[in-house]
Amino acid sequence: MMLAVAGCLLLVMISGALVAFTRRPARQVLMISVHGLFLSMLFLLLQAPDVAYSEIAVGTALVPVMFLTVLAAIRGGGRRNLPR
């Protein structure tokens, strides 16, 4: 059990560092999602399944979708970029 928690902590640490060190925003968003997945595994191992559910729904699905949307709005020349 201790070993699993230690392994999960290590994965969370590595993926968290990767989020910070990824330079391209689109990849960074995907790394946030991976980080959230490892984080929810850690929560599950620490006997907090409720928090794990929230993390997996919000952290790996909804937040990355919102970030990707923002990136698309910036890059795709959404209405905000048009001169007024």
């Binding site: 729904a57 909804l62 949307t69 959404g78």
Partner: protein, 255 residues
């Protein structure tokens, strides 16, 4: 304004001098990993399952022991979604997100049939699972918030599998607005119901039901469903407002 590198390092060192000892102090005084529960946790664990017929103590705490806090959080969420809609619709106009907006000239990647098929299998399963999580809030891990977030992201799978237009057809803004509002009203209604029965606000006076049953817990399942509705509608609205932001308005639109 541009900061020089020297100034940055100086600020960093200054912050470290102040914050590092504090961090070390906190780390040294933390309870050991896997230590016995504190007194409050032990008390709740000993009494709540028998008083409320709820096997998931976390849900019992959130929707009963500290129900007023949850009501407050619920309205923080609703207020945040409202603020988001006001901000994003500011440049777009009030009615713009009622129907999906075209994107002229944008290359639409075709979905592979495998993806579409997989989504069609996974979507009903995910929706069923989130309804299960909502219904069993007081029994197994999960509850209204988790189920609502899951349901909103499950519907979003349709965007992945069948495209934006199908997703917008499944989450019509009017329905989602009503869902969110009904959920928020429901939360207050759950609080007012005991008042009508002569008890305090949010006091759990309904019959507690059988242990390990869907109806156990008195007010807890009702509160749970109300929160689930508000969260589902809120997240769906937020996603609609965000995704409309990437799209051009139609030619005969506001411009």
């Amino acid at each position: 304004m541009k900061y020089s590198l020297v100034l940055r390092y100086a600020l960093c060192i200054l912050a470290l001098i102040v914050l590092a000892p504090a961090a070390v102090l906190v780390a040294l005084h933390m309870p050991a990993f896997g230590e016995q529960l504190p007194a409050y946790g032990a008390t709740v664990n000993a009494h709540v399952p028998y008083m409320r017929q709820a096997t998931n103590v976390v849900t019992a705490i959130i929707f009963d022991v500290r129900g007023v806090d949850t009501l407050g959080e619920e309205f923080i969420f609703v207020a945040a979604i409202t603020g988001l809609a006001v901000l994003l619709r500011g440049g777009r106009g009030e009615d713009a997100s009622r129907k999906p907006i075209h994107t002229d000239g944008r290359w639409l990647p075709a979905r592979s049939e495998a993806v579409a098929l997989l989504i069609r299998w996974m979507l009903p399963a995910t929706v069923a699972f989130s309804i299960y999580v909502m219904a069993h809030g007081q029994l197994t891990p999960g509850g209204g918030f988790q189920a609502g977030a899951m349901l909103a992201s499950a519907l979003l799978l349709l965007f992945l599998g069948d495209g934006y237009r199908s997703w917008r057809q499944v989450t019509p803004p009017t329905v989602m607005h009503v869902l969110e509002a009904l959920g928020a009203v429901g939360c207050v209604g759950v609080g007012l119901l005991p008042l009508a029965l002569g008890a305090g606000f949010l006091e759990n006076v309904l019959p507690q039901g059988q242990p390990k049953s869907l109806t156990g817990g008195g007010l807890i399942p009702l509160f749970n469903v109300a929160v689930g509705m508000a969260i589902t509608g809120g997240f769906a609205n937020a996603l609609v407002e965000f995704l409309e932001e990437t799209r051009e308005p139609e030619a005969e639109g506001e411009q």
